[in-house]
């Protein structure tokens, strides 16, 4: 395995609120190799976005607190850098694409002004060189007639086109890592397919490592080599994509895969839903956070937090039982509502 580009260890992020301390991220660790695509899958509130905001120093403090952990990037700890140091890295070596392309672009500036800003700032390009570069980037993300469109304002672009602009902006400085937070969630399927195809081919050319954050297992299956499944602020399973989808080892992953209706194959049988609601991050249940919703739970699950240990599928899973053989029962958690 090559030297990892980014090494995150035991990251903990918390938020102080009126109601109590929200433990948004509770000790997660992962490595990212150069050129690799890592998926982080989780539902809303699982902490997947917070993780990546923390890496880039974008957690508002207060109320946010980085309670612990390190994130090594080229030998430096991202979590301990000053905002000044981070601003050299953000957009330059680590870039990001957010879910909502409408709010991530400034409506009062033309695309040209926004696209050239990063290269002029980080790569010290001259105005004309930055503009040429920006046009080239727009062309590469598949915007027709870029030399004309570049002087348009964001509202003159459609949602898919705006997301392309965001990707062009993110890739302008040839970053080593691209963090894509739900990049296609706001888009239609046919546009999503376009964007994903484009990102794939760009990644091949540039060798950028990508962290793809999403709730959509389909997107992960299509795009990522390795997946981390996140639940209530922790990684509960981590494996190569094929292995994870073929034989999930954590009850939550299994439940997720069972609960999505399929496009092919038998269609009309009843879905197997995960009962209950995700836990309140202020009052996490003792032991395993998934226990109240888990059909496999045993007595031990309430007493200890299962560690993320190596699993038979070559990855790691945080579960005491073997989901392939363990008996199932009704989850013990409180009823819905």
């Amino acid at each position: 395995m090559p030297q990892p580009l980014l090494e995150v260890e035991n990251l903990q992020v918390q938020f102080r609120t009126d109601d109590g301390l929200v433990k948004a991220v509770e000790g997660i660790s992962f490595e990212l190799a150069p050129g690799e695509t890592l998926g982080i899958v989780g539902e809303s509130g699982s902490g997947k976005s917070v993780t990546n905001l923390a890496l880039l120093g974008l957690i508002p403090k207060p109320p946010g607190i980085i309670a612990g952990g390190t994130a090594r990037f080229h030998g430096n700890d991202l979590l301990r850098m000053s905002q000044r140091q981070l601003s050299h890295i953000r957009g330059h070596e680590i870039a990001m694409v957010f879910q909502d392309p409408l709010t991530s672009l400034n409506p009062f500036l033309t695309i040209a002004e926004q696209l050239t800003e990063v290269t002029r700032l980080h790569l010290k390009f001259s105005r004309s060189k930055a503009l040429r570069h920006a046009i080239e980037m727009l062309e590469r993300v598949g915007i027709p007639a870029p030399e004309r469109r570049i002087h348009d304002f964001p509202h003159q672009f459609s949602g898919g086109m705006r997301q392309r602009v965001m990707i062009a902006m993110a890739l302008s400085c040839k970053p080593q890592i691209l963090i894509a937070d739900e990049p296609t969630t706001a888009l239609d399927v046919t546009i999503q397919a376009q964007i994903m195809e484009m990102m794939k081919s760009l990644q091949k050319q540039e060798g950028t490592a990508i962290i793809l954050i999403t709730h959509d297992l389909g997107v992960v299956a299509n795009f990522c080599r390795r997946v981390n499944v996140m639940y209530a602020g922790k990684f509960v399973e981590e494996a190569a994509t094929d292995a994870l989808f073929a034989q999930p080892r954590h009850p939550y992953t299994l439940g997720l895969l069972n609960s999505i209706p399929r496009l092919h194959g038998a269609g009309s049988e009843r879905l197997v839903a995960i009962p209950g609601q995700p836990p309140d991050l202020i009052r996490l249940p003792p032991g395993c956070s998934f226990r109240p919703r888990c059909p496999f739970s045993v007595a031990r699950c309430e007493l200890e937090v299962p560690p993320l240990d190596p699993a038979p599928h070559g990855g790691r899973a945080a579960c005491f039982v073997d989901v392939t053989t363990a008996p199932q029962h009704e989850p013990i958690g409180e009823a819905v509502g």
Binding site: E43, S44, S158, G160, M161, D188, V189, T190, I191, Q192, A193, Q194, M196, E197, H215, D216, L217, G218, V219, V220, A221, N222, T241, D242, F245, A246, G255, L256, L257, S259, I260, P261, R262, L263, H264, G267, S268, R270, L271, V272, A273, I274, P275, Q277, P278, A335, V336, G337
Partner: protein, 350 residues
């Protein structure tokens, strides 16, 4: 059955034959627009829904899929007269209801209900759950006050919520629970048809399945018909008996669900199906993806021919001359070239 504590009544599912519950014929919803400066003012119509026809029988689920802007939500609002249709007819059990004013529409509001997309925006944040679910009964004067409360509790129980939470407010519930409250409100007047406008797209994956199962259970118990509108192809396939695919205000293909997904005929349907990501890495790698060029064009212009022609991978020049009619039964498709290509999801075009 005089008290709410009695076992809930089962509705007899009507035979699928006979008169359809809802019949929509050539429904059109056009919005006038003006744009440009005063001296060069352009006037025209946004043809959000441009002549769609379908029918729903008792106890049946009709799915409507399409991308954003295809007019599927506007069609739902047109049926309910939330926006006034500009053309076509909507028949409820044979009785025309299109364009009725609020007073004339009132009796039909008990028959057709709606579930909304956003569980955060569709409940009044200042009202308690009891008031929200009880409001339709109050408007239709269904029960005396105490009885109404009991009825609300019964409904909450029915949708899987704790009936004791009558006095709680929407913000004290999670997204999935709020969607259940919305469903309970729709059920309050015992409608025959519920229009579900993207009811699960704002929910998390694990909660989606709960809500879909609930909708299916309720259909079984109460004999409801659904018009299920969504952009997620797999969800629509799962819940629908028949599925219509919309593109730019038109239905381009309408067929029984299994048939449509196994043997899509319209090139747009094929592209949609191939674009949907599968939660299966092996299948993902194996399949060919039809990546459509360009984006959905604006629907403010008149189309001579097929609306999909400029993005269609198999279009011929003749496609742009006249509009293709929606033909065939039970698998109808609006494409001149539908039979020329072998059908099936594996057809690829780059």
């Amino acid at each position: 059955m005089k008290t709410a504590a009695a076992p809930r009544e089962k509705f007899e599912k009507q035979p699928a034959s006979g008169k359809p519950l809802l019949e929509v014929r050539d429904l059109e919803v056009h919005f006038p627009f003006q744009r440009g400066p005063l001296w060069a003012r352009q006037r025209g119509f946004i043809r959000a829904v441009d002549g769609i026809s379908f029918s729903i029988r008792e106890g049946e689920t009709l799915g409507l899929v399409g991308e954003s802007g295809c007019g599927k939500s506007t069609a739902a609002r047109g049926i309910l007269n939330l926006v006034k249709p500009t053309g076509g007819t909507v028949l409820w059990k044979g009785e025309p209801i299109q364009g009725l004013n609020e007073r004339e529409m009132h009796p039909f509001r008990r028959q057709i209900q709606m579930i909304f997309q956003d569980p955060f925006a569709s409940l009044n944040p200042r009202m308690t759950v009891g008031a929200i679910v009880g409001e339709p009964m109050k408007i239709f004067n269904l029960y005396p006050a105490t009885q109404r409360k009991l009825e609300v509790m019964r409904l909450l129980e029915m949708v899987g919520l704790n009936p004791r939470f009558l006095n709680r407010y929407p913000h004290e519930f999670s997204g999935g629970q709020r969607q259940r409250i919305g469903i309970a409100r729709a059920l309050a007047v015992q409608p025959k048809l519920i229009i579900c406008d993207e009811p699960v797209s704002a929910l998390d994956v694990s909660i989606q399945a709960q809500v879909i199962n609930l909708l299916e259970d309720l259909q079984q118990q109460l004999g409801l018909a659904y018009l299920f509108i969504a952009h997620d192809l797999s969800v629509v396939r799962h819940i629908s008996d028949r599925v219509g695919v919309m593109y730019l205000g038109k239905i381009v293909e309408l067929a029984p669900a299994e048939e449509l997904y196994l043997h899509p005929k319209h090139p747009y349907t094929k592209a949609l199906l191939s674009a949907a990501p599968l939660p299966d890495p092996v299948a993902e790698r194996a399949r060919h993806r039809i990546v459509l060029v360009g984006e959905v064009p604006s629907n403010d212009q008149l189309y001579q021919g097929c609306r999909f022609a400029n993005r269609c991978p198999i279009a011929e020049p003749s496609c742009s001359l006249s509009p293709p009619p929606l033909e065939g039964s039970p698998h109808s498709v609006a494409c001149f070239l539908a039979d020329k290509e072998p059908s099936g999801p594996a057809v690829a075009a780059r």
